[in-house]
């Protein structure tokens, strides 16, 4: 059941249920595409999340009622025309596996490290949202066999590019930050670069695949990324 409610005096939330699902995600993605195409007076920006899209508007230009009815109309139109076809872009993320917590993850899952890597690279993941830090993707689709809890004590600093697991989620640290995810590898790609035309490498709605690389490939790719 859809719900619409305010978040303060300058934002409005569209909520599509309480459960994470591909269907909900597709609907959210469609709303975002619609807003990219048809902005409205006072519209500022939107933030997609697992089951919601929050739309920020300028309260000096528009009020809540007017914004709500505009969005209602948009939802009706989407309901008529249906959600967008699945045209998700798949992004391959090369990973040098062997992070500090790979052995812990393997032991916890009762698998060998190689089996953990195989399960991690065989999945296709969906970027549900970008949050927590610039360019940080919340990825759904982790194989339950390698779902392990977060670290009891978070690390004070996790380097950018670290690939980790936390419960049912897997993700990639986009900037150096404190964090409690179990680190199983490192990507040479920059998930976030403020000076790039698209600062965040990933977008909500993208699909992600992890590809195992060796140390030499890592060095080469890292060199390309850093512009040597």
């Amino acid at each position: 059941m859809n719900k619409i409610y305010p978040l303060g005096d300058s934002a409005i939330v569209l909520e599509f249920g309480q459960e994470i699902s591909e269907e909900t995600h597709q609907l959210i993605h469609t709303v975002c595409l619609f807003l990219d195409e048809y902005s409205f007076e006072g519209f500022i920006e939107y933030v997609p999340a697992f089951t919601t899209v929050t739309i920020f508007y300028d309260p000096l230009v528009s009020d809540y009622q007017a914004t709500e009815s505009l969005l209602q109309e948009m939802l009706e139109e989407i309901a008529e025309t249906g959600a967008e076809e699945d045209t998700a872009v798949t992004v391959e993320i090369p990973v040098l596996y062997g992070g500090p917590d790979l052995s812990f993850v393997a032991a916890h899952a009762g698998l060998t490290e190689e089996e953990v890597i195989n399960l991690h690279t065989s999945g296709e993941y969906l970027v549900h949202m970008i949050g927590f830090a610039p360019g940080f993707p919340y990825l759904g689709g982790l194989n339950e066999k390698i779902a392990v809890p977060r670290k009891q004590t978070p690390r004070n600093s996790v380097p950018a590019g670290s690939v980790g697991i936390a419960g049912q989620q897997t993700g990639i640290y986009s900037i150096e930050t404190p964090g409690g995810w179990q680190i199983i590898g490192q990507t040479p790609l920059d998930l976030f670069d403020a000076e790039r035309e698209q600062p965040s490498l990933l977008r909500a709605g993208n699909k992600v695949r992890f590809v195992a690389i060796d140390a030499l490939e890592f060095q080469m790719l890292k060199g390309e990324v850093d512009g040597y």
């Binding site: 978040l7 939330v13 697992f50 009020d63 970008i130 360019g135 976030f192 403020a194």
Partner: protein
């Protein structure tokens, strides 16, 4: 041609009205904690309202003017001095070459904004000059200003050192001494117990020492939900009051993350963010629920007053 930081103070950062359009990429808005003070400072100098200025946090910095410049000091009153002499806030001030701006005791508020004629010469990142401290970009090298840092001016005030002895009717800037903060119900308001919701309105909440540009942790009566519920992360914004599992409240401020997973019990109205931004650790807050219509009316009134002020000042600069 510009300024040099002699002493950095607690936290002095370059801020404008923030970076919009990138929240979906996890890029926070940042921007001045007290946007109204920054806007008025720019208006006083005939600048664009959103020009970047320095947000000086108590205890403030010590700044050398290597070039003479017309400046304005707005926001919280931290007893600003130029060469040791008290200098008036809320009006253009001509600072001579070689003069030093410093701050004394806090009289009211805890953040003073230094705006300069024509603004500072900086490199915009994603359309804004605001400093994003955690990600290390924007503003001045993505950092808070340090001793010996130098900032250049875009332009220098070429007028004579004529007296800017006009004062303004500044009724649009709120009194900072009140403890009442107006709020709206947050999306998860109804998930809290009746008793907790009653406490929220009756009790005072104190700002703890854990208070910075990211958020203010509050101390006060614990807030309980009717049933423990795991939330899925969703967008939050400046002024969102979240409740952590131990029942304590945090108010998210200008440098908050784009999304959060804690229940959002209240939302501070935009018009009261100025007063909230000027509150210090140890101060008490009393929440008062208002309607969306009241929240918007307060904002529209403020906008009208800003327009009047803008007109009055344009006249001064002709």
């Amino acid at each position: 041609m510009g300024i040099k930081i002699i002493k950095a103070g607690l936290q002095t950062t370059v801020q404008d009205l923030g970076r919009t359009g990138y929240r979906k990429d996890g890029i926070i808005v940042s921007g001045a904690m007290d946007t109204l003070a920054l806007q008025i400072g720019n208006l006083l100098l005939g600048n664009e309202m959103g020009e970047a200025g320095l947000e000086c946090t108590l205890p403030g910095p010590k700044i050398l003017f290597e070039t003479a410049q017309l400046v304005a000091l707005t926001g919280g009153d931290m007893s600003p001095l130029v060469d040791g002499l008290t200098v008036k806030m809320w009006r253009p001030v001509y600072v001579k070459k070689g003069s030093v701006l410093s701050f004394g005791a806090a009289v009211q508020g805890c953040r003073t904004y230094l705006t300069v004629f024509g603004g500072f010469k900086l490199h915009a990142v994603l359309g804004s000059y605001s400093t994003f401290l955690k990600a290390g970009f924007g503003g001045y090298k993505g950092q808070a200003l340090k001793n010996e840092d130098t900032l250049s001016f875009n332009r220098i005030y070429k007028g004579t050192e004529k007296l800017f002895n006009w004062s303004l009717d500044l009724k649009l800037y709120p009194e900072l001494d009140g403890e009442m903060i107006r709020v709206l119900k947050g999306p998860e308001y109804h998930l809290f117990t009746e008793q907790s919701l009653a406490l929220l309105e009756e009790e005072k909440y104190q700002i703890t020492n854990d208070a910075d540009r990211m958020g203010y942790r509050l101390q006060g009566a614990a807030l309980r939900m009717t049933e423990a519920k795991e939330m899925l992360s969703s967008a939050v914004c400046f002024g969102t009051v979240q409740v952590t599992p131990d029942g304590s409240a945090i108010i998210l401020m200008a440098d908050h993350q784009t999304t959060g997973g804690y229940p959002r019990v209240l939302q501070v109205i935009t018009a009261d963010l100025t007063r909230l931004a000027q509150m210090k650790s140890g101060q008490q807050i009393r929440f008062r629920l208002v309607t969306l219509a009241e929240a918007r009316a307060a904002l529209l009134l403020r906008e009208k007053q800003i327009k009047q002020l803008k007109q009055a000042i344009t006249f001064k600069y002709i």
